[in-house]
């Protein structure tokens, strides 16, 4: 891609002398199967089984309360005015007609609000405002908010607001964002006179040398359209500034803690006078993991009107809210020995950040650095650029930054394998990172079940008999994945000692166990797994446990449901809290019986002497004894990641306490006349460390496959000029039940040493492999290599025509002459 260098590079990272063999040397042995420091003495009763979600009965009877189901007395309905210009100064706003409309109670504009209310999910890039104060930056940007007695009146009032815009040049092609601009989208953010918001330049080892002397190299460019989360619940918020001068905000959010922080900054209220309540959330996937302008605007309006304000997005507004996967153009080159050993990786990526930074700093890193695993990479170079454009802001969508780059890499490995005459499985197996080792950029790999994943899907799909052997039009493809299980470093460093997750457990005379956690239940089952962990440690039935995770007044901070951190971090915190209770119960049983506390274990709703099982105190009795003269038991557990990683700039981006890994084989069928295709079957092996709730893990894998398949099959945020052409669920095509393949799920458990009971993650990682597996399967079916997503039939047809037709690829034999020391391409 030949990215132009950055004008004033301050943060280039060059680590030329790195010893890959040293890094890859395992620093410890994996745990023996079945053994884990957290494992209860009598084995698992609940963890590892299939547990229906604890809030299931509420949801299936329609009694779950989502934000739009809230009705407060005297409530107002709010609607937003969105910008209709992609980049423009706001000269004037006339709200007089809107204010005069009967039923309108208040109108607030960004112009009136002024600057000085900036916020943003990452502390370094607070470039968002509740409402655009001076200029608008994309069609859909927030300009004003109206509160009225009913929704229609609010909508009518919005239509009566007149805005006088002065157009500025709009940046609509990401590559144009690399050029210097006299009208930067964010004049005071960014690194130079261009619209580049973040750049990453890293090199470990000597990539040029490796490429030069490689036996074989291959380089490909890819283009990915933006995609969006498509959750069925549109954004919704209710804000109320109560008679007690407290701001209460109910919001469909994955990150109540970040919303809380932002509200304090924006409103000026001290944090203790703000309460963030998360109702039932109808899906997040990273689209509800920022504090949002509309949340801030609703809060401000509630403070002005002194009445509760409800704001429900129309579906197109959820599209405009954005934070979807960055439209990406990337170019990968890899160098290999002719036996498939990886020698170097060279990555360039430009990602279209749209109008705001969001999680963009991290996205920029992830688009490169997460290709450092799961294969041994001895030399690595990455140039990444995130540009501001006047498009809808991109953010962190499931698989954040790793999905597109993983697709490029895995397809590249498939192409390389083909030219070298190797089987794609062989190439992966040749390069696997050992468990408990390091990458050359100091990512710490812990448990690694990729080998087992590969072997499982290879056997299950009958790969050896069928790959390259199915009739023209049918094909199999392999794809692998590697993803973080939580980010090692939190994004806020202002409270250096604050744990990433804290869980409180309270038990009172009734023997009911209350678990308080800030972890956001968004349908993935975090409440359920919290209950399961506590029940397991305390040896009690699940129905004793109730989880309260909605209310910031009651729940200790958890950083939120994003970056696949909840099972790992909240799970460990919950375990520790429960273990503290367990110690209390052991002491109580000792007090009752006279035996030593260490002899007691918690099982079967009792505290039992392992050495003399007839000696037992019921759970309830033990609780009540522990309460003697003290009252209700309270315990606290918290989690913070271990300090690790390199010391260079950006070393922590991509650093995780553990990584999930996976391998999928996908089968596709292509209609040879029309180029329409279907994915008919997926064999999916995912190493999640340990499946704490097997039902939920399966659900995440199946749902991830659906979402990733959508990105290959039909989902695409299409722009026509400055407008998103398809901000609706008809033209943004999410696959229906008729498009979904059969899926065989294989849960691989590599038993992570630090994960709670061995668990890592299953929320995002399972999405990565489906893209390359399908793209590679299309090649196996019809001999067409797509380098652009989505693979719609018209595009596939067009590439086929350019190539001169379909062609079933043949079994591996080297199709390139490889000379030692020679560079192939």
């Amino acid at each position: 891609m030949s990215l132009p260098p950055v004008a004033n590079p301050k943060h280039d990272v060059k680590v030329p002398d790195v010893d890959p063999e040293e890094k890859w040397r395992p620093y410890r042995e994996p745990l023996a199967p079945g053994e884990h420091p957290h494992r209860p003495p009598e084995g698992y009763k609940i963890l590892g089984t299939r547990v229906p979600l604890v809030d299931g009965p509420l949801k299936v009877s329609g009694q779950g309360v989502y934000a739009d189901d809230l009705f407060l007395p005297h409530m107002l309905h709010a609607k937003l005015l969105h910008a209709t210009h992609p980049h423009a100064r706001i000269r004037a706003i006339d709200v007089s007609a809107a204010k005069r409309l009967p039923g309108v109670v208040d109108v607030l504009t960004g112009l009136e609000l002024g600057t000085g209310h900036r916020f943003g999910v990452l502390p370094l890039t607070k470039d968002e405002e509740p409402l655009a104060a001076e200029k608008v930056r994309y069609i859909g940007d927030l300009v004003a908010i109206v509160a009225a007695e009913d929704e229609w009146t609010a909508k009518e009032a919005v239509r009566l607001i007149r805005v006088d815009y002065e157009d500025l040049p709009a940046v609509l092609k990401p590559m144009d964002g690399l050029k210097p601009s006299a009208d930067k989208i964010h004049p005071d953010i960014g690194i130079d006179e261009t619209n580049v918001q973040k750049y990453v330049d890293q090199e470990f080892g000597d990539v040029e040398a490796a490429l030069r002397k490689a036996e074989y190299t291959i380089r490909r460019k890819w283009k990915f359209q933006g995609v969006t989360h498509g959750f069925t619940e549109p954004h919704a918020v209710v804000a109320h500034y109560t008679a007690k001068d407290r701001l209460v905000l109910w919001s469909a959010t994955q990150v109540p803690h970040y919303v809380h922080r932002a509200l304090a900054e924006v409103t000026g209220l001290p944090p203790h006078r703000i309460q963030v309540i998360r109702p039932q959330v109808g899906g997040g996937f990273g689209g509800k993991s920022d504090p949002f302008p509309h949340e801030m605007a609703a809060a401000l309006l509630a403070m002005r009107t002194r009445r509760p304000v409800k704001l429900l997005f129309d579906r197109d507004e959820s599209f405009y809210s954005g934070r979807g996967r960055h439209p990406t153009e990337n170019e990968f080159a890899i160098a290999l020995d002719r036996d498939g050993t990886l020698r170097a990786m060279d990555i360039e990526a430009v990602i279209d950040g749209g109008a705001f930074a969001s999680f963009g700093i991290i996205s920029t890193y992830y688009n490169g650095v997460l290709s450092m695993g799961p294969y041994k990479v001895p030399a690595f170079r990455y140039k990444g650029r995130r540009v501001y454009t006047n498009h809808i802001p991109s953010g962190a969508m499931r698989g954040h930054g790793a999905v597109n780059s993983r697709c490029t890499l895995e397809v590249l490995l498939d192409e390389a394998a083909e030219e070298l005459g190797l089987d794609p499985f062989a190439v992966r197996l040749r390069n696997l990172m050992p468990a408990y080792s390091h990458t050359i950029n100091d990512f710490r790999i812990t448990s690694n079940g990729l080998r087992e994943c590969l072997e499982t899907v290879r056997a299950a799909s009958k790969w050896d008999e069928r790959w390259r052997r199915l009739p023209l039009g049918q094909g199999l493809g392999l794809g692998c994945g590697f993803y973080i299980s939580g980010s090692n470093l939190p994004i806020h460093w202002d409270i250096p000692g604050m744990p990433q997750s804290t869980v409180h457990v309270k038990i009172d005379w009734d023997g009911g166990v209350t678990v308080h956690t800030g972890a956001a239940e968004i349908g993935q089952g975090s409440d359920t797994v919290a209950a399961m962990i506590v029940a397991e440690v305390l040896g009690i039935p699940l129905d004793r446990v109730r989880v309260y995770s909605n209310d910031s007044d009651l729940a200790p901070v958890d950083l939120g449901s994003y970056s696949s951190r909840v099972t790992f971090m909240m799970g460990n915190a919950a375990r520790k809290a429960a273990e503290e209770v367990r110690r209390e119960l052991q002491r109580a049983a000792a007090d009752v019986t006279g035996a030593q506390p260490e002899l007691f274990v918690c099982q079967d709703d009792a505290v039992v002497n392992q050495a003399d099982p007839g000696m037992r105190v019921s759970f309830l009795d033990a609780v009540r004894k522990a309460m003697d003269h003290k009252g209700a038991l309270v315990a606290r557990g918290s989690f913070n990641s271990t300090k690790m990683g390199g010391t260079f700039k950006g070393a922590t981006a991509g650093l995780a306490p553990a990584y999930s890994l996976n391998a999928y084989v996908a089968q596709v069928e292509v209609d040879l006349e029309t180029a329409q295709w279907r994915c008919t079957k997926v064999w999916a092996a995912h190493d999640c460390g340990k499946a704490l709730n097997r039902l939920a893990v399966e659900g995440q894998i199946e749902g991830s496959i659906h979402m990733g398949l959508g990105q290959v099959y039909s989902e695409s945020l299409e722009y026509r000029g400055a407008n998103l052409r398809n901000p609706n669920l008809l033209d943004y095509k999410i696959p229906t039940s008729l498009e979904m393949p059969d899926v065989e799920v294989f849960i691989v458990e590599s038993n992570d040493a630090e994960g709670p009971f061995g668990a890592k993650e299953a929320g995002e990682g399972p999405l990565l492999p489906i893209l390359p597996a399908v793209v590679n399967a299309i090649h196996d079916a019809v001999g067409v290599r797509m380098h652009e997503l989505p693979v719609t039939p018209d595009r596939l047809y067009e590439v086929k025509e350019r190539q001169g037709g379909w062609k079933k690829p043949t079994l591996p034999k080297a199709s390139v002459t490889v000379k030692a020391g020679g560079r192939h391409r």
Binding site: H82, D150, W152, T736, L738, D794, E798
Partner: protein
């Protein structure tokens, strides 16, 4: 209470005569049957009217027989009607291909025949259209597909007209001056705004099928991305009368490629009386491709849709030659 539509009055006649009379009294009105086309457009402020005349009480319009189908027959009813599946399977089959099962439960024959043409500059919320200064079809003066000010290129997006035209159906219209019938093949006009011959004060009441309609071997092939919800990227309807191996008569309709269904039956004229073999079918299909001009206002590229017109015409001809659409019991 919350209301999310522009205010309008709803009238609920119970007979065709009442309906026509109400329409004459309220010229600024729209008919609504199932509402699955009108209501989304109203929610997006597309050419709304202050009065809506709902037909849901006009029981006479629910009739379904192989000779006469009322405009209020739902798409689900058409897809599952035992007699219709038996004698006019292509109609039942086509109805079952439309939209999604939930929409089919509400959507009607009349609604589909009079479906508003679609374009991605038109089918957008108010804010979006304001940002492009609206368009010729709604509150604006320019077409954005083919920039000029005189013709609208919104694409015809309904499926049922395809096979109905191929079967020689007639549409009955009831107006203040009485009823009249128009051949389906003459009903539509190739313009995104002025789409058909029905006058504003008329109600489309029935579709009439000729006595010999069930003798034609017919097929309808639809191209769309997802197997539910999606509007046609194209549809080819074919109806054949065969004389042994030889072609007797052919009707071919290239649907959803332009602003109206396009009757291209003449492309088979020179094959009448000759064996309708694979080569003949290929040639006819190739001619269909040459005769359509889709524009860029649907999801797939116009050049692809054009090429697929040939593929789908061939499929339709082959299926029709082989006896036409066969419905097994599986499709609900």
């Amino acid at each position: 209470m919350s209301m999310l539509l522009p205010p309008f009055q709803v009238h609920e006649p119970s007979t065709i005569e009442d309906a026509v009379r109400l329409k004459a009294q309220q010229p600024e009105s729209d008919w609504i049957a199932g509402g699955t086309d009108l209501l989304p457009n109203y929610k997006w402020m597309l050419n709304t009217r202050p009065h809506v005349i709902s037909l849901h009480r006009v029981g006479a319009l629910r009739e379904i027989t192989p000779k006469r189908i009322g405009a209020l027959a739902t798409l689900t009813q058409l897809a599952t009607h035992v007699e219709l599946r038996e004698s006019l399977p292509v109609i039942a089959h086509t109805a079952g291909l439309i939209a999604s099962p939930l929409i089919r439960n509400s959507g009607t024959l009349g609604g589909n025949l009079l479906l508003e043409n679609r374009c991605f500059f038109f089918n957008q919320a108010h804010l979006w259209r304001e940002s492009i200064n609206f368009c010729l079809k709604a509150s604006g003066t320019q077409c954005h597909v083919v920039p000029q000010e005189s013709k609208c290129y919104a694409t015809f997006s309904a499926d049922l007209p395809g096979p109905l035209i191929a079967l020689g159906a007639e549409f009955e219209l009831a107006g203040p001056k009485g009823t009249r019938r128009i051949a389906a093949s003459k009903f539509y006009k190739n313009d995104g705004i002025d789409r058909h011959e029905k006058r504003p004060d008329e109600l489309l009441t029935f579709v009439h099928l000729a006595a010999d309609a069930s003798k034609w071997r017919a097929s309808y092939q639809k191209l769309r991305q997802r197997d539910s919800w999606d509007f046609p990227e194209l549809g080819i309807a074919v109806a054949l009368k065969m004389e042994g191996e030889k072609l007797g008569e052919a009707r071919i309709v290239a649907n959803a490629l332009e602003c109206a269904p396009k009757d291209v039956s003449h492309l088979a004229d020179s094959y009448r009386g000759k064996p309708l073999n694979e080569r003949a079918i290929d040639e006819i299909a190739a001619a269909v491709e040459q005769n359509v001009r889709p524009v860029k206002n649907t999801n797939l590229s116009p050049s692809y849709r054009k090429k697929m017109a040939r593929v789908f015409a061939k499929r339709a001809l082959l299926e029709a030659r082989g006896g036409g659409v066969r419905l097994n019991g599986a499709r609900a």
